[in-house]
Each structure stands twice: as C-alpha cells, then as structure tokens.
C-alpha cells in the first residue's frame, strides 16, 4: 500500500510542471557543463570507447548544443541511463537534454512532462532472416518463431503486425540483445526483429553477415529525436534549431571543411545561417555566429550520418533512398528555413 501511495505521489509530481523549468540555458551556462543523457552504449548512436569517450549520432547532437552555447563541443557530461529511468531522470532535472534514440509518441510527448524537439533519425522495425531460408517477405513468416526484445515497443509492434495480417507466431523473448542474437544464430528462431538500424548494426557483427537478409517490410514508425523538459520553450528552441541548423547546412552545402570560406558567402541563406546577416542567435540566447562553431566543430547532418552510421561505417546503413535522405533527394529530412 505504501508503495502504491508513493508511486502515485511520484507520478503526480512528474505531471506537475517543475518550478525550475524556465532557466535551463542560464543554469547550463553557469555550470559550464551541459548534462546530456544518452543510453547504455549502443554503436552508431552513443558508442563508448575504452578511453571513456562517447561518440555517435546522438552524442554529436549534445556536442552541437555545447558548441552553440560555449563555442566548445566537449563541455558535455554524458549520463548513461537505462531506458527504464530515462524520462524521470530528465524530468527531475538531472540532465538538460535526452539524446538517445527515443521514439516520439503521443503519450510520451503529452503525459510525461517532456517535449520532443524534432526528429534526427527515422527508424522502423524490420525483420532479419537467414538468406538460405528462402523467405523474402515478412508476410511469409506466418507460424514462425520470432526473437524479440521484451519490454519494448518492438514486442507490441510485432504482435500488432501479425494480428493485422491474420498470422500467428511464437515469440522467443529476452531482455538482452546479445542473448537473442545468440539464439537467432543458433537456429533458435526463424527471424529476429528490432529497429532496422539495430538489425543492421548487429548483422555487421555476425560471423558471416552475408548469410542474413533484412526483409523489405517496415512494420512500425520510429521517429527518433532529442527530448527536453516541458516548460522551457527557449531551451527547446535552442536544441531544435541546432539540429535544424545542421540540416540546413547540409542542404546549403556548408560542411565542417568549407565553413570558413562559406562564412563570407554572399548567398543570403548561408549568410543568415552563419550569422553574418540577421541575428538568429539572439533569439536563441547564443551568439549570432553559433552555427559556425557547430558546423566547424561537429559537422552538418550529412557528415554526422556518414561518420557514424553511413555505408562506410561498421554499422553500414546506406542513406540513399531511405527516409533519412534530405528532402531534396527523396527523403524526409527537412528543416524550416533559417530566417
């Protein structure tokens, strides 16, 4: 009973808007460090090296925000938090932003006291099967044994998909990805399901990756992006526009290599992005040329993608033709204009 009461109290406290919400930027500036929450080490998005440094797609968003505020991408302290406690850790102000492949859903956006800023990666759930099984479509998996992580939306999506297509399946569940992968490789299940980025990463570490294929179907929408506490719109704007800035930079051809030359460009779009014209930084509480620092020290969106998860990395998720291509190239990575 006591526990129920306490849990209720905690949930009530979670829903209440925290009183310290308004001044995140000022707090961060005073502290001199951005507290950025990532997940347990995951290749491509927030990978931990043995020297203690973090890298990856989501880590670079934190570095980008740090560069925008301090002109230094490394004034970040990473908090590695399990998915079970990620939202409370953000809601009670242990971290300033959460950048850890979190799916944007209505419930999370509206009921947890959190704000999703924007999407930096479009993922979706898929299936991995052995190539010699002859299966070429998820619709052929009727009656199959499927390996799936417990306690994730993945498990629910799987059930939804099979029910919608009037098929049956036997789940093999575990909470440890490595155990599931061992089961799958040992022939314990016909298919392994997870977000496609995760499947690609895992397959790259199989003894013989070519013997396994990703089925074409995508059975769920997983828009992933950074999250901030609700109630501090100025802070949410800053995080959001750093990402928009990175996307705009790619679209305008500004990269970490040419940003110095571009700084004197006469193209009004580039001039506004890099702060030689107008003063977008002022509205965000940072200096006008903040995007120069972000791009020079971290990179534009395309550079981040190719560096951490692109075709030439061990993860190897090609970008062309996927949702994560720029809108000008058939994808849906699109940012409002910098003006």
């Amino acid at each position: 009973m006591k526990r129920i009461l306490l849990t209720g109290a905690a949930l009530a406290a979670l829903n209440a808007t925290p009183v310290f919400a308004q001044e995140t930027l000022a707090t961060v500036e005073e502290r001199g460090i951005l507290n950025c929450q990532v997940g347990l080490p995951t290749p491509g998005f927030y990978a931990l090296a043995e020297d203690g440094t973090w890298s990856g797609m989501d880590v670079d968003l934190c570095r980008g925000v740090s560069a925008a505020i301090f002109g230094d991408p490394d004034k970040v302290e990473y908090q590695s938090v399990t998915s079970a406690v990620r939202f409370t850790a953000l809601a009670n102000a242990e971290s300033d932003m959460l950048s850890r492949t979190t799916t944007w859903t209505a419930v999370r956006d509206t009921q947890l006291g959190l704000d999703f800023t924007t999407v930096n990666f479009y993922d979706g759930q898929g299936f991995l099967v052995p190539a010699d099984s002859g299966i070429t479509s998820a619709l052929e998996l009727d009656g199959g044994v499927i390996c799936v992580l417990t306690g994730t939306t993945t498990e629910l999506n799987l059930a939804d998909y099979f029910r919608a297509n009037e098929m049956s399946f036997t789940p093999v569940t575990n909470e440890n990805v490595n155990v599931l992968v061992e089961t799958y490789l040992g022939g314990g299940c016909d298919a392994y399901t997870n977000d496609k980025s995760g499947l690609a990463a895992r397959r790259s570490a199989f003894p013989s990756p070519d013997e396994h294929i990703l089925l074409p179907e995508t059975v769920s929408k997983e828009p992933l992006g950074p999250v901030v506490r609700q109630g501090d719109d100025a802070w949410a704007n800053l995080v959001r526009w750093v990402i928009f800035g990175m996307i705009n930079a790619e679209e305008l051809g500004v990269s970490s290599e040419n940003v110095d030359e571009m700084a004197t460009s006469t193209d009004p779009n580039i001039a506004r992005l890099l702060g030689s014209e107008g003063n977008i930084g002022e509205g965000l509480g940072v200096k006008p040329t903040f995007m120069i620092d972000v791009i020079k020290m971290v990179g534009n969106y395309g550079e981040l993608y190719e560096k951490h998860i692109g075709a030439n990395t061990p993860i190897g998720i090609p970008r062309e033709g996927t949702l994560n291509a720029l809108w000008t190239e058939g994808g849906i990575i699109y940012a409002p204009p910098f003006r």
Binding site: P41, N176, R202, A205, P207
Partner: protein, 446 residues
Amino acid sequence: MTSDLQTFVPRPDRPPPADSAGVAAWIRKNLFSDIPNALMTLLGAYIAFTVLSAVLNWALFNAVWSADTRRECLDAVGRAGACWPGVAIWFENLIYGLYPKDQVWRINVGFLALILWMVPLWIPRVTSKIGIGLSAVMLYPFLASYFFLGGDKGVVWTGLIALGLTGFVIVWATALTETLQAKTAGAWLIDALGRANAEEKMQTRIRLLAVLAIFLLACLAVWSVSFTEVRTRFWGGLFLTLVISGIGITFSLPAGIMLALGRRSNMPVIASLSTIFIELFRSVPLITILFMFNTMLPLFMPAGTEVNQLLRAIVAVCLFASAYMAEIIRGGLQAIPNGQYEAAHSLGLTYWQTTSQVVLPQALKIMIPAIVGNFIGLFKDTTLVSIIGLFDLMNMARAIGEDTNWLGLFIEPFFVVSLIYFVFCFAMSSYSIGLEKKLATGRDTG
C-alpha cells in the same frame, strides 16, 4: 628380592595389507567399490572431461590472443574460440571504470592505504586490534574519499581528511610500539619523555597534545596536496563494486546490530520503529528500493538540490543491507540462553555492559557464517546498480559488447567478470571459515 616381571613391549605394527593402503586402494575404496559406484565414477569422469575440454578448448586452445576487431577473431576461428583481445583492451575499464587513466594511481594508493591500515590486525603482538579495526571503519573513509573524489576541499573536509591521515599515523605508531616495545604508542611517548611517574592528568594531556600535533601536521599535509576532481559519474568497474559493497558492508553491521537490539528492546517506540524499518525494507526487493531512491527521491527534495546518483544507490544499498543484517543478528541474539542475561544482571551489569560484553561477543561468534553469507550476497547484489545506469563491473562488461570494434562480444567479458566475482566471494568465504576455526565457534568443539 628381584622381580623378573617382564615389561610388555608391543611388536611394531605390521604394514597394512597392500590392497588397503596407497592411492590404488583409495581409488578402489572410494570410486570403484561396487558396480553402480564404478558406473557413476565413469559417468562423472566423462561429464567432467567433456565440460572441461569444451571450456579449455574455447578459452585456451582455440582462442584468439591478438586482433584489432572482433571481425578478425571471427575470420580466424569463427565462434569456436574465445576472442580475448577485446577483453584485454577493456580490462583496465573492468577494474577502474571510466576513471581517467592518468589518475588511476589514486585508486591504487587508496586501496593500498586500506590494506596497510589493516595489516596490524594480522600482527600477533599488536593488542589494540579493536581500536585499529574501528578506526579503519570510522576514519579510513575520509582519507579514501579524497583520494577517489579529489577536487576542491573546504575547511571541514580538509579537517576530516586530516583526521583520516591522523588515524593512519596513530595506527601504525601503535602497531610499531606494540610490536617492538610491547606498549601502546601513548605509553611509549610518555616513557620517552621520562614522564612515566607524572600524574594521570599530566599523561593524558601529553597524549592529547601529541595527537593534536599529528593532526595539525596532517592538516598541513592535506592542505598542500590537491588532486583534480573525478566526478562519480566516471567511477566504475570493480572499483565501483568495491566502493558500494564496502560501504554497504561496513555500514550494515553496526546499523544491523542497533536495529536488532532496537527490535528486542522493551521500549515500545524504539521497538516498533525498528520493526517498521526492518519489515519495510525487507519486504521490498532491492531493485525496487534502488529505483525508488534513484528516480523518486529527487522529486521529494527541494527544487535544485542535487543528490549524487551514486550516493543515492549507496544509501539504498546500506538501508536494505542493514534491514537484512538486523534479522540475522536478531537470530543470533535469540540463540543466547536467557541464563546469560540473568547471570549478567545478577552481577549488576547494566544493559549496555550486558550487551557489549556478554551477549554480543557470543552472538556474533555463532553468526559468522550467516553474516559473511550476507556480505557475499550484498557484494553480488550490487550488480543491480547497473540497472540504474552506474557502470559497475557488470555494466562495464556489457559495454564491451557494444563497442563498435567488439560488437557482440559478450560471453568473454562475462566469463572474466564471473572469475573476478568468484575470486572475491571465495576469498571472503575462506576468510570466514578461517575465522570460525580460529574462534572455534562450532558448538560441538566447545
């Protein structure tokens, strides 16, 4: 009169029959005494051989010892052999977590100080063992805290660290004088000053002055040293596991004793408060308490107060462990016959004298196996802090398999981590058996 009584001289023993002595006989008697036994032996040997050869083949004979990525291991031997280079590269992290590499010596020195602090406990001629043990529990943490944490130290913290250092100096002074001169450091000092005949008050004053002088010197020493700050977020690996379980263990024993005494107390308020505390923390799984402390405690705190995540985990572990310890100790207290209490009372001993000199020494002795069992359990339970994102030994092992170069490498790290856990738990267990033998606690031997 002479007696010609002959003294009986037994003949020397004849050697046992050849078929009942020696290795062959032992084997026949214990392993092949009849057909079912022989079959069981063969089966056992077969199973042992299969398991051992599989493990050895995997871990040693087929293993890859040098590679840059797991891909190279897989190309070389597939999954038939272990891929040790990944674990080797990460090994330092398994021990020290993400602690900055150039600061790791501080952890080593910190633990070395603890070992040095404890060494006098094993020197037979040292007599103030209780004092030394207590000082290690009460004062060492202050010294260690600065080695591990570093950073700005205010006046209060400087004082506490100096107190730790003072404790260390006095412990070794005592150990030296007791070993060499068979007297305490204080007595030695007074003798050296030639004040052995001075009155008691004077002697006390001299001792206090000496302690004060050491303390001031320690303050100066502490003041002049400064380490860079290493935030607890970088703590991890075996180091973190030892910190959490070490604090849990040292806290839970005295707290458990107090709670157990409280629960048996005649004072209703104390008895019911102790009972409530014990039952509350014992009825909830540790993982729930960890979650409670980790995610909900900050919600009840005034806005802006920041309680360190590690501290929250440690507090949770301490409270949980002391509730369990309290019940073990209460069990031990109940095993002491009532006659002991009555005899102590009739001698005119007060409650505290009865408890500390009659009951607890007997109770703690019979409880050694249970207490050490609880310590071992606590040591292993600390793996649960990985759930709230602290990089303890377990979580660090998992991180290896998520490194891009070593993706999917998880059996090898867990194998190594199991070995580390085994070494520590086995050491604790052996020590407790040694302690039991030394104190001869078994009922049957008394």
